[in-house]
């Protein structure tokens, strides 16, 4: 059995009076791809941001590799090197080229020599089909290309776990595929990933386990086929039904009376 890489125990997060996450526990094994789905505002993005310390939690503990990472004494900069994160809006640095975006953190944080960092960046860019864009600035790239660069930027730090926060939500539909393909590739490679997404068919394809969140906690979890084909809770059934449409059969009523 694979070892537990990330262990989250009874965490609670609130902004002022509003509770975002309540008493949430979750374990992620090494090599596992966990997909979190749920309605907007259910706390899934906040949950990801708590894992790498972008948000502080009020109660509970988070362990990475058995080491508690939400202590005041924990070195957040060290922890974040092990946790790669990709954001919804790419968040590339606009004043740096693609290559500089990717090599900056390895060179500054991990003190890698420039040549080594660049060599590695180039081979990663090659993998996502963007090696010819290495000297472009982010504004010269399409959304899908930017997001692929952002993924490479996270990979260049050799993280133990990757967090994806609705990475296709800001993309035009025809660019979603190229980004999801890269993520599928990473999943096949055996990377540990936590993915927050609204792409249900992608979730089904990539996930080892689906977690359904609502109201700041986990409502249901299971394998993709368990969750999508046979949801147990009413809340999950209702959520999944919002992704399918019933065929309109009453067209005749509107005939001659266009809206």
């Amino acid at each position: 059995m694979a070892k537990e890489l990330l262990k989250i125990e009874h965490i609670t997060k609130s902004f002022d009076e509003t509770v975002i996450l309540r008493d949430l526990s979750l374990t992620v094994k090494e090599g596992e791809v966990l997909v979190i789905v749920g309605p907007s505002g259910c706390g899934k993005s906040t949950f990801l941001r708590c894992i790498n310390g972008l948000e502080t939690i009020q109660e509970g503990s988070i362990y990475l590799d058995g080491e508690k990472i939400n202590d005041r004494s924990a070195n957040l900069e060290k922890v974040r090197q092990k946790i790669g994160m990709v954001f919804q809006n790419y968040e590339l640095f606009p004043h740096k080229t693609v290559l500089q975006n990717i090599t900056m953190a390895p060179m500054l944080v991990q003190k890698k020599p420039k040549a080594e960092a660049e060599k590695e960046a180039l081979s990663l860019l090659e993998r996502v089909g963007l090696s010819d864009r290495k000297n472009f600035y982010p504004r010269q790239l399409s959304g899908g290309q930017k997001q692929r660069v952002a993924i490479v930027r996270a990979l260049a730090m050799h993280p133990e776990i990757l967090l994806f926060d609705e990475v296709t939500a800001a993309l035009d539909p025809e660019m979603v595929r190229e980004v999801l393909d890269v993520m599928l590739d990473l999943a096949k490679e055996g990377r540990t990933m936590i993915v927050v997404t609204h792409e249900m068919s992608f979730a089904r394809a990539v996930a080892d386990r689906i977690v359904f969140m609502d109201g700041g906690n986990i409502v249901e979890e299971g394998t993709p086929s368990e969750f999508f084909d046979n949801p147990q809770t009413d809340r999950a059934k209702k959520f999944l039904s919002t992704f399918s449409f019933d065929r309109i059969e009453k067209k005749d009523e509107y005939a001659g009376n266009p809206i």
Binding site: E77, R80, G84, E91, F93, H95, M104, V109, R153, A154
Partner: protein, 224 residues
């Protein structure tokens, strides 16, 4: 051909005197610009802080500078303070003080705007890569802020150079005043001098400001 009154510029040292006048204008504005940039960077950064009192004071300062015509400020500092406080300021020093006072306010507002226009996510994506606070500022936030800052501050610099034409109202003999003196002195011999002299003053201002606004345009396109 119509007499444009340009001949007067070739008389004696007239052209040289105009250039000296231009230097007086440029010197006032460049010193004031240097002061404004340094103080503006400091005050602008402070303005983005959370301290309510500092924010109220700086906002009041900015409002005063915006509302008050520069000429009134010049009069207050030059004519007002000498009598009331017994400080004997020469006109050039008074001009530099007023232009610095004005430029600092505008500059800090530009700095403040550039800083708050950096999205919160930029700090987060740098943090998520493991960069420390200092590394985030040095390698991400400051370079981006400067890029947003430069076109607007260059625009301010040209405005400051142009506005120095007001300082002749408190007796500084700058390029426009020299021009007037030349016209007056040659009223009999070259009655058309006004056109020629002011035309040259216009060209001199153009030569002084044009490279700066050209640079601003270039940077704006490059960094947009």
């Amino acid at each position: 051909m119509r007499n444009l009154g340009l001949d007067v510029l070739l008389k004696g040292t007239n052209m040289l005197r105009l250039l000296e006048g231009l230097w007086v204008s440029l010197r006032i504005s460049l010193i004031a610009v240097a002061v404004s940039i340094v103080l503006g960077l400091i005050i602008g950064s402070i303005m983005t802080g959370k301290n309510v009192i500092i924010r109220a004071v700086t906002r009041l300062y900015l409002e005063i500078v915006r509302i008050m015509p520069q000429m009134v400020l010049l009069f207050i500092v030059f004519f007002g303070t000498t009598r009331v406080f017994g400080i004997n300021l020469d006109a050039t020093a008074a001009s530099i003080i007023v232009f610095s006072f004005w430029g600092t306010a505008e500059m800090s507002d530009i700095v403040r705007g550039a800083l708050i226009s950096i999205p919160k996510h930029r700090y987060e994506s740098a943090a998520a890569l493991g960069l420390s606070k200092v590394q985030t500022y040095v390698h991400v936030i400051i370079p981006e802020t400067l890029r947003r800052l430069i076109p607007l501050s260059i625009n301010l610099v040209t405005r400051m150079i142009k506005t120095t034409s007001l300082v002749m109202m408190i007796g500084v003999v700058e390029v426009l005043k020299v021009g007037q003196q030349i016209i007056e002195a040659n009223r009999k011999s070259s009655p058309n001098a006004a056109f020629g002299v002011y035309l040259v003053v216009f060209v001199l201002y153009y030569i002084a400001c044009r490279p700066i606004s050209f640079l601003a345009g270039r940077l704006e396109r490059k960094w947009s």
